[in-house]
């Protein structure tokens, strides 16, 4: 049954209205406020040494957390899907922890662990490592909060592709490493890529955990979200808005890169073109033995 034109337009209006009020209006407002007096003030605000350092730090966090969580995430997903054992349910639960626990709590727990008097803190400071109020601590917090995304996006894809292609590769003489690089990874690449995009977005925007472990020292341990927060508190609205715009642009760039990558891959393997009658029958009469 197709809906009547009135119902169709009613639903559309409702959907757009809802999205508009909840998402577009606030973001639009920031754009308007930022460029209210032309492009000069936001550019000036974003080229101050503190702002530039905040952008650099945020990108550094992405550059550390994303590769770490990608490698861990793919490995962990392989373990969960391909090697069944009793501990899997526990590992699966632990991986979800960063979703369940508030980032502030994560920050606090890192603070307790690595602070002076913490389990690791005193030993590490004797060795000359400072974790808190410096880049290692912030990287730890970023990795922690964004850990589940690649795992969660990769597991269902791995389950879907099954093991037959990998078995076929092994009968053709491929070892485990060759099978992973030539068969498994190319088959799960879209799941991994989506996980990477989500991880990147999460690290770009992380506020709670990083606030606590970084100490938010301007020009030293202040990431872009912290810069925006502090500017806002100090009534430097121009910097706050401009910083927010830069964050939004970074996130948009990530999404854009992914969809460009996707389109290129699509062009390589053009969509399914049914050429013979038995293709449809073959797929619809699949039966196990």
């Amino acid at each position: 049954m197709t809906p009547t034109p009135t119902a169709k337009w009613g639903l559309r209006t409702l959907a757009f209205g809802y999205l508009g009020l909840l998402l577009l209006a606030p973001v639009g407002m920031i754009f308007y406020k930022t460029f209210e007096h032309g492009i000069g003030p936001p550019v000036e605000a974003m080229t101050s040494p503190d702002a530039l350092h905040a952008i650099y730090l945020t990108l550094l966090m992405v550059a550390i957390a994303v590769p770490v969580n990608t490698v861990f995430g793919v490995g962990c997903a392989l373990l969960l899907v391909r090697h069944k054992w009793k501990g899997n349910a526990i590992v699966d639960g632990i991986i979800n922890l960063p979703f369940a626990v508030s980032p502030v709590v994560i920050g606090l727990s890192l603070f307790l662990l690595y602070g002076t008097g913490g389990w690791f803190g005193s030993t590490l400071s004797e060795l000359g490592f400072q974790v808190l109020f410096s880049i290692p601590g912030m990287a730890l917090a970023s990795i922690f909060v964004s850990l589940p995304f690649v795992v969660r996006e990769t597991v269902p894809v791995l389950q879907e592709i099954g093991t037959e292609q990998e078995q076929a590769a092994s009968t053709l003489g491929a070892n485990a490493w060759q099978t992973f690089w030539r068969i498994t990874l190319p088959s799960i690449r879209w799941g991994v890529a989506y996980g990477v995009v989500l991880t990147t977005a999460r690290v770009l925007g992380e506020f709670g955990a990083v606030t606590i472990v970084s100490g938010s020292i301007s020009g030293e341990t202040e990431t872009l979200p912290l810069f925006v927060g502090k500017s806002f508190e100090q009534f430097d609205e121009q910097s706050a808005y401009a910083g927010a715009i830069v964050l939004a642009l970074l996130a948009l760039t990530t999404l854009l890169l992914m969809s460009i990558g996707g389109r290129k891959a699509k062009a390589g393997s053009s969509g399914p073109i049914p050429i013979a009658g038995d293709a449809a029958i073959a797929t619809s009469t699949k039966e196990g033995s």
Binding site: G173, S187, I273, I275
Partner: protein
């Protein structure tokens, strides 16, 4: 010596998939593993390929003990029921995979792949992706991929099981011809007795993890070792305490001391052959296979009382009985 399996055992939890299985596959032969679902035939094939580890037993390929070798080193070509096509590679890439792993030169790979694609009649489709092929084409691609590395043996796991009847028939004729040309020792798994008899020189009938009988198609049909084999390799009825094939039942209009009284229940014309279903006095249902001419001569109609005389019966407690 082609392939030998001795005393293979495999258990999945509570399920005994293979129970002390031994088979011998002559070099260069085409052998079918035939059995119902869950009979262990696929597990046995996968154990030969090294895709399944045995709990006990030995696998010998071309005289060499392969039991401890991983799949990667066994040099077997394996073809899966659902093709296991590498979806992100073209047909060319799929067939070239094993050759690239073996680090052959680009020129060698190019000429070998095209030679194989000609063999499986996919030469024009080298740049297609698997999802642009029909099921039959995908399976031929999978076969070319397996043959590319010049395997010692070729193992096919229900290769035509996912295809429709027409394509299936074409492919098995084609496989038969291919084997005649290449003489690679081949084992293929099927649950379709007609397919097994059509393609294979030797059949191994499996049931509940055990080998019931092996031999040529004629052997199995004419001298089945037990009731299971008799009913699996052809149709069978029970008449007078023994087993009889539907084409070995004679329908008589007059009483006879060796014949049993029966009532015609249903007459089904299946083209050339006619299937006549009867019910005996004790309620047992039996059917006989007649030709169109025989039916016309007898002028059978539903509800009629007739007398059934088995020509040839078999009882597995004793020997074969051939009635005069």
């Amino acid at each position: 010596m082609g392939i030998a399996v001795e005393g293979a055992c495999k258990r999945f939890g509570d399920f005994q998939a293979l129970d002390n299985v031994s088979i011998d596959v002559p070099d260069g032969s085409l052998t079918a593993l035939l059995g119902p679902s869950g009979s262990g035939k696929s597990t046995l094939l996968r154990a030969i390929a090294g895709l399944e580890d045995l709990d006990a037993g030995r696998v010998t390929i071309k005289g060499e003990d392969a039991t401890a070798k991983p799949a990667q080193k066994r040099e077997v070509g394996f073809v899966f029921q659902h093709y296991a096509a590498f979806k992100h590679m073209t047909v060319f890439g799929n067939v070239a995979f094993g050759l690239k792993i073996r680090k052959q030169s680009k020129g060698q790979i190019e000429s070998r792949v095209h030679e194989l694609l000609r063999l499986v009649q996919l030469d024009g489709l080298a740049e297609r992706y698997p999802d642009q092929l029909s099921g039959g084409q995908r399976q031929r691609m999978a076969l070319a991929r397996a043959l590319a590395v010049e395997p010692q043996v070729l193992l096919l796991d229900e290769p035509f099981g996912a295809l429709d009847a027409k394509v299936r028939k074409d492919l098995r004729t084609w496989l038969r011809r291919l084997h005649d040309e290449m003489h690679v020792t081949t084992i293929f798994v099927t649950h379709d007795q007609e397919e097994a008899m059509d393609v294979a020189e030797q059949l191994v009938v499996m049931n509940e993890g055990r080998v019931e009988q092996s031999g040529s198609a004629d052997d199995l049909y004419d001298h089945p070792a037990n009731e299971f084999v008799m009913s699996f390799v052809g149709e069978v009825n029970q008449l007078g305490g023994a087993f009889v094939r539907p084409h070995d039942i004679q329908v008589e209009l007059d009483p006879d001391e060796r014949a049993e009284e029966a009532m015609v229940q249903r007459i089904v014309a299946l083209g050339f052959e006619i299937r006549v279903e009867f019910v005996l006095a004790d309620g047992t249902e039996v059917w006989a296979q007649l030709t169109r001419a025989e039916l016309q001569k007898l002028e059978l109609r539903e509800g009629q009382i007739v007398y059934l005389r088995p020509d040839r019966t078999k009882s597995f407690s004793g020997d074969e009985v051939v009635a005069a």
